[in-house]
Symmetry: C2
Subunit: 150 residues, 2 copies
């Protein structure tokens, strides 16, 4: 198992927890120097949150970090980042994002690449499977999560 | 006093509260059909938050809203949005942002305009004054707030 696969497995664990809680199954992990700084998951349903996506929840859980930490970290996320989460990565100059899958949703990858962020897409079947279930079983909360209505 | 000035005054009130709490003085207001849905302010210092900027705090305080509400709302913010807050506005398709000032900081306006968001910049002296004080008296937390170090 590569490091990317190992950290993605933690993000998937978060996504699965979110699914089990009745939420949107997207998870994230922030890794610095090979160490996990924080994990996070989408909390829309669980906490009634409009801004706690997997990535932003993870960054919030990491607490206040010096700029140099973000700039040498890797963000793992089970799904390609929405505009908010992409913007958060750009705010903190996170240089690399590892994405579980981008078939279900992909809006910000061109912007991220244009600003020098390195993206690695794993096309992971477990990540895809979680989003497939979401689209078929929880279409309303998925739509809400990306600013749409079914 | 125009509507824009009136709602910006509420955002400034939030920013001033944030300053008085020892934080970064940036405030925001979300307005739908002429009614205030929520106010918010930067909570970096107060709550140890990495993601509660004025705009994101305001959106979080507004709770889960249907997409049609965001798409017909106006976001007021005392300072030009960072990447994260611009991304949040794009996620929810907020069509108009009224900005107190953009002399201290401006990174996302081209992106927002390119995606059809209408921006109105008030160039408000009170907003400018609050950020002038921040740059001179709290440069470390301001730098941290935008992913930099002094």
């Amino acid at each position: 198992m590569t490091d990317d696969e190992r950290f993605m497995a933690l993000a998937i664990e978060q996504a699965q927890l979110g699914w089990d809680e009745g939420g949107v199954p997207i998870g994230a992990v922030l890794v610095h120097d090979g160490q996990v700084l924080a994990v996070g998951r989408n909390r829309r349903v669980q906490w009634g949150s409009a801004i706690r996506h997997g990535e932003t929840d993870c960054l919030e859980n990491a607490g206040r970090q010096p700029a140099r930490v973000y700039r040498t970290s890797v963000l793992y996320t089970t799904l390609s980042p929405c505009w908010m989460c992409a913007g958060t990565a750009l705010l903190y100059d996170i240089p690399r994002i590892v994405i579980g899958e981008n078939r279900t949703y992909s809006v910000s990858e061109d912007l991220l690449r244009s600003r020098g962020v390195e993206l690695t897409v794993l096309d992971d079947p477990t990540c895809l499977g979680l989003m497939d279930k979401t689209l078929s079983e929880r279409p309303e909360i998925w739509a809400e999560d990306i600013g749409e209505e079914v």
